[in-house]
């Protein structure tokens, strides 16, 4: 009962958050001196009448707060509206969400599979050559601007011919067999994954190392080691179980990041993901599209936190008491 009460309370808290986020973002976007019709205006063959029609359709002739209210009304009804080019926002998002999910979940999976063990070993072998090298190598990964790294990898792809240059599928994708499709996708995903993996690996690995170090110095691990248990057993039976807890919170954040995408990387790789869509929408002040994606991002963030909290409650009895 306590549990459900907590969850419903958390869900109720979400509502003011959504309202604040939507107001903040709506107003700052609309305050920007960006004309969503700029491209039309600069096209000599577009007449004034066409422009007037578009201004009416996008409600640009109304004050901002009225624009906000009419947006909020249809949002509550589940209608995300149309983009400034006249396409349905919901279809646009639907096109992109699977692609972004595919990329981000692979990246998250890879970083966790690699980062957690690396973090553990770095902590166990603290201050050894292995630990130091790892720190430096992961710092190197964090230090390259992602877009620059992506450009260099694209050049690499061109020069070796091993990987396709951006995109997600080859143009004759639909004629491939199932296995062919799989390999085609895999080939396209390698380079963007490498970039995002390199960037996020070091953070995760450091975090895990820190957690592990803390547990490693605790009395019960010291005790277990004193008892003469094997190193392996100490790590996996005693230390790891406690060190992994804070990582669950982190997993919640990762979940939130699943849909916000990695705009610059997607942009350079021409990856048909959400990040690139939002980036382009922001630059053009395509309000309905931006708002829909921001709302989605916020909801994902809250959901992620909620899931993390629930998981924590289930795994760690101590937390249940304090909440």
């Amino acid at each position: 009962m306590e549990f459900f009460k907590y969850i419903s309370k958390r869900i109720l808290q979400v509502i003011p958050l959504l309202i604040i986020v939507s107001i903040i973002s709506f107003f700052i976007i609309r305050l920007a001196p960006i004309d969503p019709l700029a491209e039309l205006r600069l096209n000599p063959s577009i007449s004034q009448e066409t422009l007037d029609k578009e201004i009416k359709r996008l409600k640009l002739d109304k004050p901002i707060y009225i624009q906000y209210i009419s947006w909020a009304k249809s949002f509550l009804k589940g209608d995300l509206g149309y983009t400034s080019a006249g396409e349905k926002v919901s279809t646009k998002l639907k096109e992109r969400i699977p692609n972004t999910l595919l990329l981000t979940s692979i990246v998250v999976f890879m970083t966790w599979i690699v980062g957690i063990p690396l973090g553990i070993f770095a902590a166990v072998k603290k201050e050894t050559v292995f630990d130091r090298t790892l720190t430096v190598v992961s710092s190197v990964g964090m230090a390259i601007p992602s877009f620059f790294f992506a450009i260099l990898l694209l050049i690499f792809a061109v020069k070796t011919g091993w990987f396709p240059v951006g995109g997600l599928t080859s143009y004759n994708f639909n004629e491939f067999s199932l296995i062919g499709k799989f390999f085609d996708l895999a080939k396209h995903l390698v380079l963007p994954t490498v970039v995002l993996f390199t960037i996020s690996l070091s953070g995760l690995q450091r975090q895990m190392r820190a957690n592990m170090l803390e547990v490693w110095d605790s009395d019960y691990v010291k005790f277990a080691r004193a008892k003469g248990l094997s190193e392996f057993k100490v790590i996996f039976k005693h230390a790891l179980r406690n060190a992994i807890n804070p990582m669950i919170t982190l997993l919640g954040f990762e979940f939130a990041g699943l849909l916000s995408g990695a705009a610059l990387t997607e942009y350079v790789f021409q990856y048909p993901g959400l990040g690139r869509l939002i980036l382009e929408a922001v630059m053009k002040s395509d309000i309905n599209l931006v708002m829909a994606s921001l709302m989605m991002g916020t909801i994902m963030l809250i959901l992620g936190n909620l899931i993390a909290d629930i998981l924590l409650m289930l795994t760690d009895p101590r937390v249940r008491g304090t909440k």
Partner: protein
């Protein structure tokens, strides 16, 4: 152990440093692999002919016979098509994609620029009457016949009602009236314009759409019609007439077209075209990605700019592509000066009155024109792959005023012009005759390497004259907002696309009430007549030019408008990039033309 590594490391560093310091002076070798320009001998095939077979009026291509099959991969820069509805396209990509699907009654001859029949078998022009004879027996992709009904429907229920993008309707209005249209028989229609109207014949290239497919949507009002044929429409449902039909659209990745078996064009052996099985448009974000894709052989055609050209030309002989020079670009690149002297609703001037006096002074504008170093712009920014530009019409326009020769930059002429206008130079700083320091803002869109570099150069050029220039690159959409809505700018570097065939398309820029009359923009419903004398002349020229039908009658008028712009200099033209395009050698029937580019005849191109 550690120390040894330390020493080795130190030695390496010192060694590298010394290596960098000690450099022997050995003359560099320059390769002399200058390839003789091979002028490709291109014999143009004759114009297409009408051929009737079994009562069907085919259009026969006169190009050499080719092989059926194969595919061509091209690219489109940007976000891809926003609609396939040809009546509702507002951007270039959507227009060209929808244009693949739907043909118009007439088209432009890719070499001469004259209007020739397409879906129409022939047309007659008698004064204000345009009689169009349609091809008999040709079909839509779903097998239904293309008839006069479709033409009447397209014009009467879509174009004349302003459904979708009403720009065509607006362009067809003469003296506040639309042309009339009557059906004479199943395959003949007659248009009548209220007065002689030169651009009208070319306007008939508007795509004809199938009534049986479009009517259910056009009857249901604006919003239904606008959402109709969105990119996610199931390709199987689309009824079209072009050489290719839609096969697949994958968001942000590609659009795939396949051969239309019902297409009305045949080859010399009377077999139905097109040769290619498939045409793929890859949607790419920018030119860098396009180049990489061409290098990786994912693309077959590439337009090359600036510094890349030399590399492609050098490698052409030993590679699988040919490089074609298509001449100057149809777009223009310019510096525009804000001549606005009006006040906003609150009674505040859009442009500071002190600046108004400078910008309104022709000699001041002339000084800027003379100070700008176009030669080095071409050399540095376009890597020599461009021509200096002085005219409002682009260099490949058939209406180009060839008497405007332009001039080299000359700082002395510029200084004299400023002196004449009453400006004085003190300690390298320029002041007007009331003692105000000449200082203004120069805008361009940020993130565009070419324009930013241009801005840096122009700033330097003008600072030679003692002006203080604050160069401010701003976000593209914000800049357009300034130019067309808020008018609070001084000078800007911009570019516009243009039509090399129809100068009347520029009327939104040049007529005083145009929506793109940037240099002296008036609000939408501005009623006061405060036109400058030469603005009146421009209005007159564009009004008159549209009413004259013959090229020889129109040419002097449009020559005059270019002279006015050149003399008054509200817009100072900079240069025109040269279009260089590479295409894989395996594609045949390639007849590049400056007017239409390289792959305008997709239905005739084949793979060897």
């Amino acid at each position: 152990m550690k120390r040894i590594w330390g020493i080795i490391f130190l030695i390496l560093i010192v060694g590298l440093f010394l290596k960098a310091c000690i450099m022997a002076d050995i003359p560099e070798q320059y390769s002399d692999n200058v390839i003789n320009a091979d002028i490709k001998e291109i014999v143009y095939p004759a114009k297409e002919r009408n051929v009737a077979i079994n009562g069907i009026d085919y259009l026969q291509s006169q190009a050499p016979l080719g092989k059926f099959g194969g595919e061509l991969v091209v690219s489109t820069i940007g976000e891809g098509p926003k609609t396939f509805n040809p009546c509702n396209t507002k951007d270039a990509t959507s227009s060209s994609m929808a244009g693949m699907l739907y043909d118009g009654l007439v088209t432009t001859n890719p070499r001469t620029g004259e209007v020739q029949p397409l879906l129409a078998k022939s047309f007659e022009v008698n004064g204000n009457d345009y009689i169009i004879h349609l091809r008999k027996g040709i079909k839509w992709t779903d097998g239904k016949l293309i008839t006069a009904e479709d033409v009447i429907y397209t014009y009467k229920e879509i174009v004349f009602k302003g459904l979708g993008n009403p720009s065509t309707m607006d362009a067809m209005i003469v003296d506040g009236k639309l042309p009339s249209l009557v059906q004479i028989d199943d395959y003949t229609v007659k248009f009548t314009t209220p007065r002689p109207f030169a651009p009208f014949l070319r306007q008939l290239s508007y795509p004809i759409v199938p009534k049986h497919y479009f009517k259910p949507y056009s009857d249901n009002g604006e919003s239904v019609f606008n959402a109709f044929l969105s990119p996610n429409t199931n390709p199987k449902d689309i009824v079209s007439s072009g050489a290719f039909k839609l096969k697949e659209y994958v968001a942000a990745q590609r659009v795939v077209f396949v051969r239309n078996p019902n297409y009305y064009k045949i080859n010399l052996e009377n077999k139905q075209l097109p040769y290619l099985d498939k045409v793929v448009y890859l949607i790419v974000g920018d030119t860098n990605n396009e180049i990489l894709k061409f290098e990786a052989k994912e693309l077959d055609v590439l337009s090359i700019r600036g510094s890349n050209v030399a590399q492609y030309k050098l490698n052409e002989a030993k590679s699988d592509y040919s490089v074609y020079n298509l001449g100057a670009d149809t777009g223009t690149l310019f510096l525009v000066i804000n001549l606005n002297n009006r006040k906003d609703k609150n009674g505040k001037f859009y442009v500071n009155p002190i600046k108004q006096r400078w910008f309104g002074n022709r000699d001041f504008r002339a000084a800027i024109d003379w100070a700008i170093d176009r030669k080095n712009m071409v050399q540095n920014i376009a890597s020599g792959v461009a021509e200096p530009l002085f005219t409002a019409e682009s260099l490949n326009s058939i209406y180009l005023n060839k008497y405007i020769k332009g001039h080299p930059s000359d700082i002395e002429v510029a200084r004299k012009s400023l002196q004449k206008a009453g400006f004085v130079l003190r300690n390298g700083k320029l002041y007007d005759n009331k003692g105000n320091r000449v200082e203004f803002d120069l805008y361009t869109n940020a993130g565009n390497l070419e324009r930013e570099a241009l801005g840096v150069m122009i700033k330097q050029d003008l600072e030679e004259l003692g002006m203080k220039v604050n160069f401010k690159p701003v976000e593209f959409n914000s800049l357009v907002n300034k130019l067309t809505n808020t008018y609070d700018w001084d000078m800007a570097i911009m570019g516009l696309t243009g039509s090399p065939l129809e100068p009347h398309d520029g009327k939104n820029v040049w007529t005083s009430k145009g929506s793109l009359h940037m240099f002296n923009q008036r609000p939408a419903n501005y009623s006061v007549d405060d036109r400058l004398s030469w603005e009146k002349d421009l209005d007159e020229i564009f009004k008159e030019g549209a009413l004259k039908l013959l090229f020889d009658e129109r040419k002097p008028l449009y020559d005059k408008y270019q002279t006015i712009i050149y003399n008054q200099k509200p817009i100072i033209y900079l240069y025109s990039p040269i279009r260089i395009t590479a295409i894989r050698k395996k594609f045949k029937n390639i007849y590049p033309t400056p007017l239409s580019g390289l792959i305008y005849n997709l239905d005739e191109i084949y793979v060897e």
